[in-house]
């Protein structure tokens, strides 16, 4: 059964400044959700909270597959992932970066190598696999972030501005990957962007964040 996510009454602020205020939204259907909104309105914050990287001040994040909400444990955290805007590249090869998610799950050997090569292929990074990942261009770095996420086959994938400062060709590649994931792997994708055209191209569900709340457009 597919994984579904509900955020209810999320409140979060930093240093006394509220960012999210009673923010409620249910990601109930399969597809691509595109979240837009002004700089600093709280999109990244919302994604981090949904991806269980940060805790809200109040409110609940609940994941369901059937029936009752799932416990927010390691097993659940391993079914979702978030690609951060700055990616967070590890100082090792591209291959080493992409295989990370498998290694920490104790998956190795030829099965892991196959999965990593598939993800590299998917992200168009096969020819870069032995290069130190810190030397990639910014567009390649974004694709690395996506490959690293792909390899662990998330059921829900959060992407925070995956095409900011990425050229048109790389943007097309990344959009292609997103649509393929939705179609081939039945992944639910939640993405933030400032690119209106991109939002139109990708979204099944356009969302807007304003005043610390999310609403469907």
């Amino acid at each position: 059964m597919a994984l579904r996510l509900t955020a209810s009454h999320i409140t979060k602020g930093y240093d006394g400044n509220p960012v999210l205020r009673d923010c409620t939204f249910s990601f109930a259907a399969h597809g691509v959700y595109v979240l837009t909104g002004a700089n600093g309105c709280g999109k990244s914050t919302f994604l981090r909270i949904c991806a269980l990287i940060e805790a809200p001040e109040s409110g609940d994040i609940d994941f369901f597959s059937v029936g009752a909400p799932l416990p927010k444990d390691l097993a659940l955290r391993r079914r979702i992932t978030l690609v951060l805007p700055r990616v967070g590249v590890f100082n090792t090869t591209v291959f080493g970066n992409v295989s990370y998610g498998l290694r920490i799950r104790g998956i190795g050997g030829s099965r892991a190598r196959k999965k990593v090569s598939d993800a590299l292929e998917f992200a168009g990074l096969t020819h870069k696999k032995d290069q130190n990942a810190l030397t990639l261009s910014s567009g390649e770095t974004q694709r690395l972030g996506i490959a690293r996420a792909l390899v662990i086959e998330p059921e829900i994938l959060f992407l925070d501005e995956p095409t900011a400062s990425v050229d048109q060709k790389n943007t097309e590649i990344i959009e292609e990957i997103i649509l393929n994931m939705k179609r081939d792997r039945m992944t639910t994708v939640v993405i933030t962007t400032h690119d209106r055209e991109q939002a139109k191209r990708l979204s099944d569900f356009p969302l807007i964040m304003d005043g610390g709340k999310i609403s469907a457009v």
Binding site: R77, T81, G101
Partner: protein, 237 residues
Amino acid sequence: MSSITESFARAVFLIYHLDRELLRIIMLSLEVSGTALVLASLAGLPLGALLGFRNFPLKGLFLTVLNTCMGLPPVAVGLFLYLVLSRSGPLGFLSLLYTNTAMIIAQWVLALPIVASLSHASIVSVDPVIRQASMTLGATPFQISLTVIREARYGIMSGVIAAFGRVIAEVGAILIVGGNIAGYTRVMTTTIALETDKGNFELALALGLILLGISLSINVALHVVQKRGLAGARRWP
């Protein structure tokens, strides 16, 4: 003037022919400092990691003390350890004074704060986005810490190398607790001090040159490691 050149020539001759006594002294130096360094790293890295990842009361004070200890005067460490290990001292019953073990302990005390403090500094300077990325990919808290330590590896290696540079060149502590006993606890630095005192410049000079060579190698290694670490610091915005 001619005596200096003559001594130099004899020193080079000694190094070139590397007699057994000279070799033994060099090996003992490397053994004592190497063992002290390994043990200091085994304790210092976890200590640095603990300080980097955990918060506890008086941590700031502890860090200040640790930083201060990076510059402990070797003579003072030697004296303190002497008092502890001497026959009438609290650990006198172990009869460790004037043994290799005593020298290793002394250099361990000198190396530990350097390894721990520099490990801590490199761990806390790892970009927080690494920690977040590791979390998003499904790492356990322990795996997250290992990942951060891995990212700090060049800084940690610099610390270990710096600590080795300090202990291999140190003479105060090792002289007091080792006693500079010929054929037993005589190492490079203590031999240099003694032989110079005796006017036996050839041997002192030979050892001095070798020590200089080791220092040079250490600095080259440090430079290489730091350059690699710098490449690692180049992260995309």
